[in-house]
Amino acid sequence: MSEALVIGVGNPWRGDDGVGPAVARLLAGTPGIQVAECGGEPAELMQCWSGYERVFLVDALVTGAAPGSLLRLTAETPLPRPARHSSHGLGLAEAIELARALDALPPELVIYGIEAESLADGTRLSPAAASGVAELVLSIQSELHQRKDAKTQKGR
């Protein structure tokens, strides 16, 4: 499929954990972009991106960086997997590595993280996370436009 897919991961009822779904909702209706929201479960993710060549995954991050700051990773190389002692859920990095092992990764997978400030109950994003969401919406749009321009130029 020539359209790009943006997948928002996270729980919109837990404050800044909702940044992924917020980005997906803001990008809904943009020409050339399909959006989806997903819990991050491996089989669900694989089913969600199946058939798409270009996929953007957006999730909240807690790294200690300034709230709202963006991190861009690609799945070209294996993602670092934190040591986990619990299996109540597989993390996003584990889901992506599982998909790689199963040869089920899309040809291009970009992972965007937005640093969260608060993961408290409620649907409200912190001002810093909301500004991170706005910045990321613009940068995904421009990333796709540049690609389109580059393609058009190549085509000429």
């Binding site: 089989a43 669900e44 619990s86 089920a104």
Partner: protein, 430 residues
């Protein structure tokens, strides 16, 4: 005399946080501790002073894997206090969502947590490179369980559509019928996976367990039954507190349980259900158990992976039957009026009996709550297995012994987070 200690300070591929400590002196196992250090959860305390209608939404939070068990046991106990019984159509819908929970919980454990032990991989992701088809099918099996929970429960983790008295909204026949194809695929995939699993090599190890599970005359137990055991116990759920004595041991934040009469540990979960209810399995699941070489009783805890797989097949078969017979219930829930009193509930969570007891006042406020998770009951059995297994395998070097000990624990699919309401391994050899 040489002392050996084997320790695992944070157990992997179990639900929650725990550790293991084994100390041997010469040719004798001197001490075994399954340390559950995940902090206590205090759910029973949170519930006191709450309206009885709030309970299933709170108890759902005890576990992300088996929330339905906590919602159902609570609902049953509260319905008993209020003198209400559910319409058969609502009972069937409860059994259907519970099948979804067995499928997703067992599916995760069999394929991602337990199988790497038998095939010699550190985790499911590494295993997936060499066994992609098996892992792909395992993930899909789990996903179908999730879909079943989502349809009936509103969402797969901590479902929101369950209430005391039934459901907020019942799914439409068309929505339920849409699951049929996936469930039929799941039953075949489970049969195929069981054939593969039956070919695995299992350590030669058996224990003389006292199996305890719900027992029902007409069905393989999920939601209903009396408390039965391999030594002939047959008692109503109301007797649970008399049957079991809970004690606090210093190395665990989850209370241990023993049978009050004999002082023996009880073994709960798939192998107990299977031992006490095998003849009430659905026909296909029973045939698959035969084909996998499971006799009337399985006492090798490593073979629990086979029994779990049989139960996955059972849950698919049972869900198919319920889906095919589904008609929208006349009402999504039974009206409930509070009454003062004490009620008891017990269902078969994926890991065994999940027991609930609540006392209400006339206004329906919770005065007292007691919840017992099966993993907490299984702790002494896990320790007995470790004791027996280490004693039989003292010739193994520490690293191999440590790895085997972790497997002994994973055989139980322990849900430490539920139980604390626990795993690191230390072996000391003297």
């Amino acid at each position: 005399m040489t002392t050996r200690t084997i320790e695992v300070n944070a157990l992997a591929r179990v639900e929650g946080e725990g550790a293991l400590y084994v100390r041997t002196e010469g040719e004798r196992v001197a001490e075994v501790k399954l340390r559950i250090y995940e902090p206590p959860r205090f759910f029973e305390g949170f519930l006191v002073g709450r309206d009885f209608r709030e309970v299933p939404d709170i108890t759902a939070r005890i576990c992300g894997i088996c929330p339905v068990a906590y919602q159902m046991g609570a609902s049953q106990a509260l319905e008993q206090v209020c003198g209400v019984s559910l319409d058969p159509a609502l009972e069937n819908l409860r059994r259907l969502i519970y099948c979804g929970e067995w499928i997703e919980s067992h599916g995760l454990h069999v394929f991602m947590l337990h199988l790497p032990d038998f095939l010699g991989y550190p985790d499911g992701i590494t295993m997936a490179r060499d066994y992609p088809e098996l892992v792909r099918n395992g993930l899909r099996i789990k996903q179908i369980g999730n879909a079943l929970m989502r349809l009936v429960g509103g969402r797969e983790v901590h479902p929101v559509n369950l209430k005391v008295g039934g459901f907020y909204r019942a799914p439409t026949p068309a929505q339920v019928a849409a699951l049929r194809e996936d469930l039929a695929w799941g039953l075949e995939a489970a049969a195929e996976a069981l054939e593969f699993l039956a070919g695995l090599e299992f350590p030669d190890f058996e224990m003389d367990y006292e199996f305890v599970s719900l027992v029902h005359p007409d069905e393989y137990p999920i939601l209903h039954g009396r408390i039965g055991s391999s030594s002939g116990l047959d008692a109503p759920v109301e007797d649970y507190d008399r049957i079991f004595t809970e004690t606090h041991v210093i190395h665990s934040n989850a209370l241990h349980s023993h049978l009050s009469d004999s002082g023996r540990p009880a073994f709960m979960g798939p192998m107990a259900r299977f031992a006490l209810n095998r003849e009430r399995l659905t026909p296909r699941a029973a045939a698959l158990a035969d084909k996998a070489g499971l006799g009337a009783v399985c006492r090798n805890p490593f073979k629990s992976i086979l029994v779990r797989m049989v139960e996955i097949a059972f849950a698919f078969e049972e869900a198919l039957r319920l889906v095919e017979a589904y008609q929208a219930p006349a009402r999504p829930a039974v009206e409930m009026m509070p009454r003062a009193g004490t009620g008891y509930g017990a269902t078969e969570a994926p890991r065994g009996i999940c027991y609930h007891r609540y006392t209400l006042d006339e206004a329906g406020m919770i005065q007292d709550a007691k919840i017992v998770a099966p993993t907490s009951v299984n702790q002494p059995s896990i320790e007995a297995d470790l004791h027996g297994f280490v004693q039989d395998n003292l010739d193994l070097p520490d690293d191999q012994l440590r790895h085997r000990c972790e497997q002994v624990i994973r055989n139980y699919d322990p849900c430490i987070s539920c139980a604390t309401h626990f795993l690191d391994l230390t072996v000391e050899r003297a």
